[in-house]
């Protein structure tokens, strides 16, 4: 009988090609490599310079998302709008995929979208896989019980050429979430509360496993929102053990196993859970029933406060600098701040349930005249499904913009940005200085809080609008 293991340890052990030693890291096999236009050009150049091929084209999933514009006009014009640099980057990705024999999910594929939205929706993201991408929000895929983490461009080159990475085994952190989320409080509020509790470096060097009743009760899209922001707590990866919710989500998706292979997969996936008696290097516990909608007030995702609570105070210089940048005051709640832009989208909250929640709040209401609201589906498939269900018409009738799929304002490198000083309530994952434009101020929140704030014209409690 082997020692009790954590979910992470099981997936790790299954992918070790060469054991680590004090002198050398482990060689870890990668089952799915998702690539996009921004963090791959220099990796393809390394392959070209060394005369190397892509080792496993079948395990490589390329798309376009970061620098693609989301303006709903013709494609060619779009690329010029976003700038020649972005257009060149997209053309180079198309050329690289052609030269290396990769099937790009690009324009016209109907399957293009944010890397961390399309992996799951295609069924390519599966329990027990190792998944990497040159993007730190690769932790999203851990919601399925995969070991998924972001890598740099040099490592993208390693995976393209060898399908492997050199890795030291990380430590483990259990985040236990007991209880039940109150009405009007969502996965986004929970993960912001978790980051507030552990700090933006609380997970450094660790892989998080999210556990407990509140996690088990969540649907897959909520679990993805949780795992997505693991990196905001410093952890490269976050995982949730797969269960019936996971299997129900994946069943029938085009890249999920089919027929007899599906039955075999389910049998294997059921073993992917932390054994009783297995230990974690660290653990923290939260009670979900005590939570309220959360918003950030500062310039990192750990600077977070309940929607109606006063902003805390600190004599720390970095804290004061953040409050100055945000033009907010200690002792006052965030709800006193007027809003210029509301952004719903990103790999954190750009899935169909997020669009649905946004439409539910906007239904029969109007976005305040002083607010520009952008709703950006996470993928072409999310866009199509939302339109089939008429959600886009609810959104546009309220006065919000319904745009093309992409990373949009989350990263501010595709033309979608805020102007200096403007305050954006954003469903994305980072409120760093300048993230959404030079001098732009970002308040991270759930889709419900974002939609409520768009209607109110100031940062607003979504429970007022349910």
């Amino acid at each position: 009988m082997s020692n009790p293991s954590t979910l992470f340890e099981k997936v790790w052990a299954d992918h070790v090609v060469v054991d680590e030693t004090p002198e050398t890291p482990a060689v870890l096999y990668i089952d799915l490599h998702i690539i996009h236009e921004v963090t791959t050009p220099q990796a393809f150049s390394v392959l070209r310079d060394n005369g190397l091929a892509v080792r496993r084209r079948d395990l490589t999933l390329p798309t376009l998302d970061h620098s693609t514009p989301t303006t709903p006009v013709s494609m060619f014009k779009d690329l010029l709008v976003a700038g020649e640099g972005a257009a060149n980057q997209v053309r180079q990705m198309q050329q690289n995929c052609e030269d290396f024999g990769l099937d790009l999910l690009g324009y016209g594929s109907g399957q293009r979208g944010i890397v961390h939205v399309i992996g799951p929706e295609l069924g390519a993201t599966q329990p027990g896989k190792t998944i990497v991408c040159g993007d730190s929000h690769s932790s999203t895929h851990g919601a399925f019980g995969a070991l998924a983490f972001g890598i740099g461009t040099t490592e993208v080159g390693h995976v393209l050429a060898t399908q492997c990475l050199l890795q030291r085994k990380p430590k483990t952190l259990a985040v236990n979430v007991d209880g039940e989320l109150p009405e009007g409080v969502t996965a986004k509020d929970l993960i912001l509360a978790i980051i507030g509790k552990i700090g933006v470096n609380g997970g450094t060097g660790h892989v998080i496993e999210y556990r407990g009743a509140a996690i088990r009760a969540m649907d897959m899209e909520s679990r993805m929102t949780i795992c997505n922001m693991s990196i905001e707590g410093g952890a490269r990866a976050g995982m949730i053990a797969p269960d019936e919710t996971t299997f129900d989500y994946l069943r029938g998706r085009s890249r999920a196993p089919q027929g007899a292979a599906w039955d075999e997969a389910i049998e294997r996936w059921r073993l992917l859970r932390t054994d009783d008696g297995a230990s974690f290097d660290k653990s923290v516990t939260l009670d979900a029933s005590e939570l309220q909608p959360m918003v950030t007030f500062g310039t990192n995702p750990g600077m977070v406060v309940g929607i109606n609570d006063p902003i805390p105070d600190s004599s720390d210089a970095s804290f004061k600098k953040a409050l100055d940048y945000m033009q907010v005051e200690s002792g006052k709640p965030m709800t006193v701040n007027t809003v210029d832009i509301v952004f719903v989208g990103s790999c954190t909250n750009g899935r169909i349930s997020d669009i649905e929640e946004t439409a539910r709040i906007l239904q029969g209401r109007k976005v305040a005249d002083s607010v520009r609201m952008m709703v950006v589906p996470g993928s072409e498939q999310v866009k199509k499904e939302a339109e089939e269900r008429g959600l886009d018409r609810v959104i546009t009738a309220a006065g919000a913009e319904w745009r093309e799929a992409g990373c949009s304002m989350c990263i501010g490198m595709n033309g979608d940005i805020a102007q200096p000083g403007q305050l954006t309530v954003s469903t994305s994952n980072r409120n760093f200085e300048g993230r959404q434009g030079v001098g732009a101020r970002t308040v991270l929140a759930s889709p419900a809080t974002a939609a409520a704030s768009a209607i109110a014209g100031y940062v607003a409690d979504p429970r007022t609008y349910s």
């Binding site: 090609v17 972005a86 180079q92 972001g150 461009t153 492997c164 410093g234």
Partner: protein
């Protein structure tokens, strides 16, 4: 990769905590398809006014900072985005080492793979470095030591493999490619196929 072993330089101090990679190199400069030329935009929004003129108060714009190759950052340096453009930009600008009490995982990995030393020190040493901008600091990778003012020697922890690759200038892709037959046999023998 060019071998890196000994660095001696005066320091530049950026004491803010949680300096993220968006601040090191903004996403709007990531439309490049090469590694070169990012240095002119490192810390862009901290360095320049909207009209492109330098902000005189920012540390990199001070005359005494010119030519300094060691950056002392606040705790949790390099958090956020996985963009390797961050270490590329720091190297292109002329930095060869970053020292802090904590350095984010992905940034540290990326930095070491490009020959940018990412060194974690204890909080007392860190505080001394923060309090003494422009201090003369020598780093010895092989010995894994930092020497302050040519006198006080501090040891730091470094992964043995990263240390070896830095000193010898080893490209890790070459090392991985030597494992090809083991990788092939793993692929053939694993109990399930992705």
């Amino acid at each position: 990769m060019k071998p890196v072993n000994k660095i001696r330089s005066k320091t530049v101090v950026l004491p803010t905590r949680d300096i993220d990679t968006d601040q090191i190199i903004s996403a709007r400069f990531l439309t490049t398809t090469t590694r070169e030329g990012l240095g002119k935009n490192v810390f862009h929004d901290l360095r320049y006014n909207a009209d492109g003129s330098e902000k005189p108060d920012f540390v990199l714009n001070k005359p005494e900072s010119k030519g300094c190759r060691i950056l002392i950052g606040g705790n949790n340096f390099g958090c956020g985005s996985s963009r390797e453009h961050a270490p590329w930009a720091l190297l292109d600008y002329g930095f060869e080492a970053v020292i802090s009490t904590e350095i984010a995982d992905i940034f540290r990995n990326n930095a070491l793979k490009n020959g940018l030393l990412a060194i974690v020190v204890d909080s007392d040493t860190h505080q001394w470095l923060l309090d003494n901008p422009g201090a003369d600091v020598a780093i010895d990778v092989a010995a894994a030591t930092i020497t302050l003012l040519g006198a006080k020697i501090i040891e730091f922890a470094i992964d043995g493999f990263a240390q070896h690759c830095l000193i010898e200038g080893i490209d890790q892709l070459g090392f991985l490619r030597q494992q090809t037959s083991t990788i092939e046999s793993y692929e053939e023998n694993r109990s399930w196929k992705p």
